[in-house]
């Protein structure tokens, strides 16, 4: 528990550090945003676009926007994360209005399933052997839920449709999965 408190303090200081760096228009802010929020923001974008490659492009443009507009971020109106999510969502929505996106949508069906399958079976390129071993202890169904909800852009409603489980159960299982994850890390 003491470890996690230390960690949390660190995270909070990271958030305020990012805010300060953004105000100073320092590029290091973007690096920190990418490291600490990148996976979650990519998920937010992918939730709208349903295209991993396109989502990565949008994340890149989001990082630019964050750097360009970061000095306008007002901490009194919400957390940095809330602001980052809004910028990401807007960028993704903007992308859906492009011809580029419409064309890709027309020739796309069933890719989502393949994407899930790939994601589920991936894991060969783990960087941290220790973390891999720990996370390997997680039951597959919980891992899938975490991936879908936090890293693959599926809404709870979509997950319940895909996996054929009720919405309430999806929410409870995600909560359980994270709880489990935290207990092993």
């Amino acid at each position: 528990m003491s470890l996690s408190v230390q960690q949390l303090t660190m995270t909070s200081s990271v958030e305020s550090k990012i805010s300060h760096l953004l105000a100073e228009r320092n590029k290091e802010a973007i690096q920190l945003v990418f490291t600490h929020y990148g996976p979650l923001l990519l998920n937010v974008i992918n939730r709208v676009l349903r295209d991993e490659v396109m989502s990565e492009d949008v994340l890149q443009s989001v990082l630019l926007k964050i750097w360009q507009n970061g000095h306008n971020f007002d901490g009194s109106k919400g957390s940095l994360f809330t602001w980052l999510v809004r910028v990401s969502k807007n960028a993704a929505i903007d992308k859906t209005r492009t011809k580029d996106y419409r064309l890709s949508q027309e020739s796309k069906n069933g890719v989502e399933v393949v994407s899930i399958a790939e994601s589920v079976s991936s894991g060969d390129e783990m960087e941290t052997l220790y973390a891999k071993q720990l996370i390997a202890q997680l039951p597959e169904d919980l891992k899938t839920l975490i991936k879908m909800s936090f890293f693959e852009g599926y809404t709870h409603k979509e997950i319940c449709e895909k996996l054929g489980i009720p919405l309430g159960t999806v929410k409870t299982r995600i909560r359980t999965a994270i709880k489990h994850l935290r207990s092993i890390i």
Binding site: N43, E56, W67, I135, K147, K171
Partner: protein
């Protein structure tokens, strides 16, 4: 507020998954800032997820970050150059408001016009002066030529006076013109007669002076008509015993018979 129940509701997971709308997210932010426990829970959840992402290769490709940083660098470079480029733009805008070049051009035009006027005046003056000078020169040349001619006559007269071969007869004015006088030189070797027109009134229009040689007992002999304006002129050759010379006013072209009552001057040869 039951914090534990709030945390257990799954709203924090939904928050991190981007499941909530902005209003709901702000509500979570508000509660997290109010309740330290909620904030810690949120941060802890995020850290766990990041660890999971790292372990499961769910972190976005690092090329995304590199690409973004490169773009930022490009933008910064462009901005830097734009700042440099902006300077002349500002100047151009200033020109639009106050057309400096046109003011400068106007000033130059006025200066040019001023100079043009000055130069034109000077040119005109010079031209006038030149014309005056030319006219002066012409009149001077005329005078010189006139004087030259007069000098030639004078020299010629002196030569005639000094010539030992010449007989000199001074003809004095008569009643018609008492003030008048003229001289005749008669060369004793060649018998040539020269007249020096010294003071004779301007002949009336269509009339001319004529010289006559007078021999005793004979009618006057024509010695030639002469030009009133030419001072010294060679006339006819007169031979024989001449007593006197006289000048009469005749019709233009002369007369074979002297009009004696129009005799202006007359002079007798000195008896040697």
């Amino acid at each position: 507020m039951d914090i534990q129940a709030y945390i257990s509701s799954g709203i924090l997971e939904a928050y991190l998954a981007g499941e909530l709308n902005e209003q709901e997210m702000k509500e979570v932010d508000r509660i997290a800032s109010q309740y330290n426990e909620v904030r810690l829970e949120l941060d802890s959840l995020r850290e766990s997820l990041l660890k999971f992402a790292e372990a499961e290769s769910k972190s976005p490709n690092s090329e995304i970050l590199e690409g973004a940083l490169e773009s930022i660098q490009e933008i910064e470079k462009e901005k830097f150059f734009k700042v440099l480029d902006d300077e002349p733009e500002v100047k151009i805008q200033r020109v639009n408001i106050v057309p400096v070049w046109s003011i400068a051009a106007s000033i130059l035009l006025f200066i040019s016009l001023g100079f043009n006027y000055i130069f034109y005046s000077q040119f005109k003056n010079t031209k006038d002066q030149l014309a005056a000078l030319e006219s002066d020169q012409t009149s001077l040349a005329n005078r010189v030529s006139q004087t030259d001619q007069q000098l030639q006559y004078a020299q010629l007269r002196i030569a005639h006076f000094l010539s030992e071969d010449n007989v000199h007869i001074r003809m004095e004015g008569l009643d018609l013109s008492p003030e008048s006088f003229a001289n005749v030189f008669w060369n004793t070797k060649s018998n040539a007669v020269f007249i020096s027109v010294d003071n004779l009134p301007e002949p009336p229009h269509g009339h001319q002076y004529q010289l006559w040689a007078i021999k005793p007992g004979l009618a006057p002999i024509d010695a030639g008509i002469f030009d009133h304006n030419q001072l010294v002129q060679e006339l006819k050759v007169i031979k024989g015993n001449v007593e006197a010379f006289a000048v009469t006013l005749e019709k233009e072209g002369g007369s074979p018979i002297a009009t004696v009552d129009k005799t202006f001057v007359k002079g007798f040869l000195k008896k040697s």
